[in-house]
């Protein structure tokens, strides 16, 4: 049964150092939960970005929470490179496993289906493939002249998800973001923050029922209003462009980034920092 906890910091305490965590791309990235992990001093986490990441990954890397990041791409989008990521890769402060978006999706889907591996088109001949000792090739058994790439399934220890709403049974509404269902199914446990916990049973709402992560997957949950800020939560609040532009600037300098962490992450719990 889903545990209901007081806030993201209580959730962060459930995630041990060294765990493999997976976080999906914007919008609705779990920023408040990420900041709570930084506050609890998480170390040596293996982050899988689904399939890419922006601010969240850069923040965790800069705060020293990650030992390994597995990603198809990390940047601040139209606001340029992710400064802590690019520096950490350059200096070797974080190990990187590069991938390509559909490979991350296919590997998670294999995890969801209990398939130990999955074939995928593309990849062969790229340096992305060459850089991955866990990516193999094999002949298609139905056409031996057809060489295809093979990936191991991904089953994260924890999927970290921020969603718009959930009910008190632990069912989480993800709307059209069905890749979040695949992520939760593939993960051993899913830890969720939501903008709002609603009354009633979302399974009884025919519009919501097809688009839920069932409570069977959800180990623990907390309400975290503005839990995606400064990233967007569609229908709740927009992307905070000023904040991210300021972040992009401060993250280029070690001291300015340290100030940012003190001020924005350690200075206050995610919740009030967001208001």
């Amino acid at each position: 049964m889903t545990q209901f906890l007081s806030d993201p910091d209580a959730l962060a305490a459930l995630i041990p150092d060294g765990a493999m965590i997976a976080i999906a791309k914007e919008p609705l990235s779990p920023v408040a939960l990420t900041r709570a992990l930084i506050r609890r001093g998480a170390r040596d986490l293996h982050l899988v970005t689904v399939p890419t990441a922006t601010y969240v990954a850069d923040l965790m890397i800069g705060a020293g929470c990650l030992g390994l990041v597995e990603t198809s791409g990390i940047s601040l989008g139209e606001f340029g490179p992710a400064p802590r990521f690019t520096k950490a890769v350059r200096t070797g402060a974080v190990r990187i496993k590069d991938s390509t978006c559909p490979a991350v999706y296919a590997a998670l889907q294999a995890g969801e289906k209990g398939q130990p591996f999955v074939p995928i088109r593309g990849l062969i001949g790229s340096d992305v493939f060459e850089s991955r000792d866990d990516y193999l090739t094999m002949p298609n058994p139905y056409d031996p002249s057809d060489e295809i790439a093979i990936l191991p399934a991904i089953r994260p220890d924890f999927a970290l998800i921020h969603a718009d709403r959930a009910d008190r049974f632990g069912n989480v509404h993800v709307g059209a973001r069905h890749e979040l269902k695949t992520l939760a199914h593939a993960a051993r446990q899913t830890i969720v923050t939501v903008e709002e916990i609603v009354d009633g049973d979302l399974r009884e709402d025919p519009a919501a029922a097809p688009n839920l992560i069932g409570s069977i997957y959800v180990a623990a949950m907390a309400e975290a209003p503005r839990g995606a800020w400064p990233l967007a939560a569609p229908g709740r609040y927009p992307f905070d462009e000023d904040h991210v532009i300021a972040y992009a600037k401060r993250a280029r300098d070690d001291d300015a980034f340290a100030d940012y962490l003190r001020e924005q992450v350690f200075g206050a719990p995610a919740r009030s920092a967001a208001e």
């Binding site: 390509t100 559909p102 999706y105 493939f129």
Partner: protein
Amino acid sequence: MSDIRLEERLIHATAGLLEGCPHIACGVLSPIPGAAAMLAARRHGGRVSIIGCDLPEYRCDGGVELFDQAAQGRVDAFFLSGGQIDGQGNINLHGVGDYPEMDVRWSGAFGSAYLYFLVPRVILFRLEHSRRVFPEKVDFVSSPGLSAPGIHRPGGPHALITNLCVMMFDKAKGRFRLASVHPGHSVEEVRDNTGFAFDIPDHVPETPTPPPDDLALIRGDIAAKIADPYPKFARAVFGIGAEAA
């Protein structure tokens, strides 16, 4: 009629390369390709998916479904760029120097190491034409331009569009051929600023000026529509805000 902007010329030129594509997809940071796809669809019919666009007509979350469609053969054209692009059509989205601890690290492959293999017409788009961007050989092959026999490779590079010219990729020869040079630029300028070898025909035409009806469409309907996925671009190029969409 007012002066033709480079963006308008490139939208028109790119649309011409998309003729006969039932389904064109493009990325959230690709306003000129996005506008070109809209123009091509208007002229020749067909469907456009713009990653991150909220207009139902073009909506595409850039997620699993688009990648699956590419593998199903349901995506006919896509756009890629690169921090480096070389003469064999290899693209580099990872960085400069020795992997993994590169001197300069960029974002990563995104979907390129897959879509480049599966989408028949991939148009490479980069508006900084220099030897730094177009070296003889990329430092890191995020996705290769060509594949060995026995590798499923229905897709690959079709053309390269820059701020100086349009090049077409010849899969048989595995190299680019200069197709047209934009007004105000020369074949020599293109050669001087390209680090890789490419074919130059005896006669290289100028990249054509959009005819009035296309220009009207670009400046009207399309400018208004791309204000949704590309507000900054619409403001900068056409002085149009998102509310016009």
